[in-house]
Symmetry: C2
Subunit: 419 residues, 2 copies
């Protein structure tokens, strides 16, 4: 049986987190970890280092919340005041721990350095705290249970906080795991958010279970489906799977994954299964399509080569695009896209080729060929297919949507899914 769920607050300490130059990445990490246990914080707070502010913010958190994660301000400098202020608010002493000092000294010694005196204060721990060892830095974490409040002190650097959380904090939170959470992550392409809404609006569960969340990017929509159960993972899983089946029956021709992989990964898996190969020719995307494909470990199994044919000369020399076609139709045309894909087929000898030519902007548009006009082509055993696209958005968005559409063409061909 689990215990009553505490009211949770995450507090990140650091003046730099209140500027535009730094982001608090620790709190989102803890949110994600809590979600895995079915827990949600009630408050998230960022506090400046200033003594008066820090004291006020910590005091409010201790009063209104029952489980407080307090991140940062445990370093050796004068600005690091979390330990001292918290002890004073709780009316507790700071206790010196010889074994912490030894471990800090050893850490410096391993790098051939002597511990500076300023690190001494990191060997002090609030009276009654359990020590959470830091295997990746000098400041240990602390777990303090006190008058029905639980206070967890964690170091700010993510490379220290994350392993500490996984090893020493996560197990201590298991007592509150009442929900089993199961989640599916659908990704769709070739359809807009409002088209999806039209098709599935009657499926939104009135009870809020399972929960549906839609995230829209240009060229890609995600639908997150999650459910809880007080009994078992299987029960939660079942609720999610039923919804996935319903969504698939309405949207199947656009869903390329239910597990959250990127489109380049899904396409890569299909190619690997079939023992087939791919080459790409890019003009306006400038290498992005190759970059995305090669972000997937092991992509050398199927990805053979790419060409970034930014100039007309490169299109002619590398891919054998005909100068007459370029002169007659222009570089951004159905004909040139076709000759790129077919020329690449000859050059690379791969099962499939993809080609992209278009105007990414902001310059280079004309009334008849506006910014965002992009031709995507796919060639294979069946011949060559070209699609004319008109994308919206800034340069990088046009590049992303172009690479996404080329991948979608290959995905549709490999899966035989019709739009």
């Amino acid at each position: 049986m689990s215990q009553k769920i505490p009211r949770i607050e995450i507090v990140a300490v650091g003046s730099e987190l209140l500027t535009s130059h730094f982001q608090d990445t620790d709190s989102p990490y803890i949110v994600t970890q809590l979600e895995k246990l079915g827990l949600t914080p009630a408050f998230r707070t960022i506090l400046s280092d200033e003594e008066e502010i820090l004291r006020q913010g910590l005091q409010d958190a201790l009063q209104r919340s029952e489980l407080c994660f307090i991140i940062g301000g445990l370093g050796p400098t004068e600005d690091d005041r979390t330990r001292e202020i918290l002890a004073s608010l709780l009316k507790k002493k700071l206790i010196f721990h010889e074994e912490i000092l030894t471990s800090i000294r050893q850490r410096f010694a391993r790098r051939g350095l002597t511990m500076p005196p300023s690190n001494l204060k990191q060997a002090y721990v609030i009276e009654g705290s359990q020590i959470l060892p830091n295997h990746h830095g000098t400041a240990p974490g602390q777990w303090l249970e006190e008058r029905q409040k639980i206070i967890v002190l964690l170091p700010g650097p993510p490379q220290e906080l994350q392993p500490m959380f996984a090893t020493y904090v996560r197990p201590r939170l298991e007592r509150w795991r009442i929900y089993q959470v199961y989640q599916a992550r659908l990704k769709l392409t070739g359809i807009t958010e409002s088209q999806i809404e039209e098709k599935i609006k009657d499926l939104y569960p009135s009870s809020g279970q399972p929960q549906l969340t839609t995230l829209a990017y240009p060229g890609q929509i995600e639908i997150l489906i999650s459910a809880q159960s007080q009994n078992s993972l299987e029960e939660a899983q079942e609720k999610v799977n039923q919804m996935v089946d319903k969504l698939r029956s309405r949207l199947g021709a656009y869903i390329f994954t239910t597990q959250g992989e990127a489109l380049e990964e899904v396409v890569g898996q299909l190619l690997r299964q079939r023992g087939e190969t791919l080459a790409v020719a890019e003009s306006c995307t400038g290498g992005l399509l190759g970059h995305r494909l090669t972000n997937i470990p092991g992509s050398s199994d199927y990805f053979r080569l790419g060409t970034v044919v930014y100039s007309n000369e490169a299109k002619i020399k590398l891919l054998g695009v005909s100068p007459e076609t370029l002169a007659k139709y222009g570089a951004v045309s159905q004909e040139v896209a076709r000759e790129m894909a077919l020329g690449l087929q000859k050059l690379a000898g791969t099962t499939h080729t993809l080609a992209i030519t278009g105007i990414a902007g902001p310059g280079g548009g004309t009334p008849s060929k506006p910014v965002g006009l992009v031709y995507t082509a796919r060639a294979g055993e069946d011949g060559c297919q070209v699609i004319k696209n008109q994308f919206l958005g800034a340069r990088e968005l046009v590049k992303f949507q172009s690479s996404q559409k080329a991948l979608e063409m290959l995905w549709r061909y490999l899966t035989q899914l019709q739009e």
Copy 2:
């Protein structure tokens, strides 16, 4: 003369902001806007929609802070409780405004719709508030001055909040602008954060003016320098410029910009000035270098072509790398990097070429050629130069550092800056 600066808190309301699926983008926007006036918040808070939590969080904010930006929870649904709870905390009435209702109705009418009854509550404003018109949505903002506290209510959708802030909030904040802020953004490559620390630690101003902030990424370090003046922008500018000069005298050989541009942009400007051209050959970076170069608008002025020669066959066929060299030294070798850069020179006929071959990981490493081993080559009129690198980090980090090192080689050659 400016007034005493209030203690500022930014409060974002919404349970979705406490999940891993949504991010609060409004608070960072307001932080950036405040910075332009020299203002910094003391607290940032995210509150769930739950009535008890919201009430507690708003009450704490009103008690501890003097200027509160409260974002979201102004919509038409049951979960939108900010307006009501705030009125109750302040013991104020909500006053109906006919002209707001009219404008909401007109908004629906323009889309051919009738206003649903639930939107009626958006026409209510806290007694004494100044109305901040919403030209991009239905919920107006509110500006309330009350017992030395200022409360600013803003709608959550960024496309509504941002224009409202710029037009109606920003001018009202001018009374606290006491500092003129001036900032330089240095970017360095080819040097580590600790090497920089060694070289400049005596330059950190004891008074905290100008302020130095260092941001380290693999392959790139940024130093932000900002200063304030109570008198004029020029005075702040002068403080920053003096520090930039000092840093340049110590670190000049690594600073590629003082204005924050990306390295691919700086290299592109140099090429454009000289009327020279570039082609790239990529193996382990898979198109990233071409992608980065072509993210810069107008890059077709100097960027001609790229090849992504992922397979040995592609290296041979496209770049004329010799099969013997590949067999003798392996694809990841100084010799192959050289032949790639020189082969590309022949193929592309550009002033400069860059080539990259290496092991991005996580697979493919051996004891003698570990993951992260990357050869970067540059060829030009002077011949060919190859550098052996051992990068650390995950696949995408190795790819980024490799592309950065290739760009650095060309930058050093074009500027004649020696490491």
